[in-house]
């Protein structure tokens, strides 16, 4: 179908943008449009006002800092995929992006759009959970920064207020030589994941786990970090036993079910895919690295 009528706004500065957000009601912001446009074409969403983020300057960049990488909300997925900085310092993001839609949708889709849409199975939402993302939201009153936990509330729901927009996201950097693995299961490549698991790891000089992060997506309404297990496995050798413990923790997450996928099957996938992601991260982890 076609979108229902709306009034279109194309601000060119963030000041104009926040001004519009502060004064208009019934607004949707369009970034890459790869989720919002289908929803508008289906008329699931019929905004009175559509504000275009694409005309606002200065929101597309990758900025590498010592402890984090800051990414502007309008940065396209394809740009991230081609970014040397991302490939060098955060290679798992490139691996995750290869599962996001198709080349035509990655050419338009943005990181900010993916995060604000907040599909529980979205790969970039998983990346934000994995990297302890800090998100900066901007309104006429200025900026506020919130953690990923405060940002994502549930299925397609975030804590971004009607007068705010997501300006940028900071992803915490891991030391050079860290191990990483991203695994997902979908009906077809590029489809929404039924389950996706990401894993980051550093090993100490004995080869034992020094630091571990695991994020499981698609199983519940927001990605789940296996925080307790991440702490408990510190100091253990990353072997088959460790993988089994981790997989069990992923399988214990209370899983959603729908008309196609039962919760039992989701839990099964969570276990299998967690093991794979962990194994891959282990293989890639450099033993001399310390967090």
């Amino acid at each position: 179908m076609k979108p229902s009528p709306f009034t279109y706004h194309a601000p060119t500065t963030t000041a104009e943008l926040t001004e519009l957000l502060g004064t208009l009601d019934d607004v949707r912001i369009i970034a890459g449009g790869q989720s919002l446009m289908p929803m508008m074409n289906f008329r699931f969403v019929q905004p009175g006002h559509l504000i275009d983020l694409n005309t606002v300057g200065g929101l597309a960049y990758v900025d590498v800092q010592r402890d984090f990488i800051e990414i502007g909300a309008s940065t396209r997925q394809r740009f991230l995929q081609r970014s040397q900085d991302i490939a060098k310092h955060m290679p798992i993001v490139g691996e995750a992006l290869s599962h996001v839609g198709h080349r035509q949708t990655r050419a338009r889709g943005t990181i900010g759009g993916s995060l604000c849409h907040f599909d529980p199975s979205a790969e970039l939402v998983n990346m934000a959970a994995l990297h302890d993302a800090v998100l900066t939201l901007t309104s006429v009153d200025g900026d506020r920064s919130i953690s990923f936990g405060e940002f994502g509330l549930g299925f397609l729901t975030t804590s971004v207020q009607p007068n705010e927009f997501l300006r940028s996201v900071r992803l915490a950097r891991w030391p050079e030589g860290h191990g990483y693995g991203f695994e997902e299961f979908a009906m077809r490549h590029g489809d929404f994941a039924i389950c996706a698991v990401s894993c980051l790891m550093t090993l100490d000089d004995r080869g034992a786990i020094d630091r571990l992060a695991v994020a499981v997506s698609g199983v519940s309404e927001t990605p789940v970090r296996l925080t307790e297990m991440e702490g408990r496995l510190r100091g253990t050798m990353p072997d088959a036993g460790t993988a089994t413990d981790l997989a069990a923790a992923a399988g214990d997450i209370e899983a959603m079910s729908d008309a196609y996928i039962t919760s039992d099957y989701r839990s099964h996938l969570a276990r299998v895919i967690t093991r794979r992601a962990f194994t891959k991260a282990t293989e890639r982890a450099d033993q001399r690295v310390r967090a």
Partner: protein, 160 residues
């Protein structure tokens, strides 16, 4: 009340200036306003890839872009591929290898794969299949399309 804008867009090298409703998708703008019906609409929600065109050189889904968003930009559609009735090498290979049956998906696939070969002139078969993953063809089973794309690449490298 209709929300209207006047936009200037260059399509296949020809500049156009038109007044459009802001909710007009790029696909409908091309098909209904410019009468360039070579761009096909299979699903209108980003699933099939039939509507793929190039905006500023990048292959994108024209059902997921608004016409107003192309103001000041250049757009390339399937109509711009053949020059003076002479098919591009890829179009010829699609003909040779039977890369199409009904042809509904073909414009989107040509636009996507033309961009892909510019970026990767020497692809493996699996890279071709990956690049093709955003385009649905209900007739060919893809094998002949993959053959045509690989043959185009080989020809461009002077191997055929």
């Amino acid at each position: 009340m209709k929300d209207l804008r006047t936009i200037s867009v260059t399509v296949n090298g020809t500049p156009y200036s038109r007044e459009v409703e802001t909710r007009r998708t790029l696909a409908d703008f091309l098909r209904l306003d410019l009468k360039l019906t070579g761009t096909h609409l299979g699903c209108e929600h980003g699933a099939c890839g039939a509507c793929t065109v190039r905006v500023e050189g990048e292959a994108v889904r024209s059902c997921l872009m608004l016409a107003v968003q192309t103001n000041g930009k250049s757009v390339a559609t399937v109509e711009g591929l053949a020059k003076d009735g002479k098919l591009t090498p890829m179009q010829n290979q699609f003909w040779e290898k039977h890369g199409l049956q009904c042809g509904f998906c073909t414009p989107g696939i040509l636009m996507t794969m033309t961009e892909f070969l510019e970026e990767n002139p020497d692809p493996t078969e699996s890279e071709v299949r990956d690049a093709l993953s955003g385009n649905i063809c209900r007739c060919t089973g893809y094998q002949a399309i993959v053959d045509a794309v690989l043959a185009t690449a080989a020809q461009a490298r002077g191997e055929q």
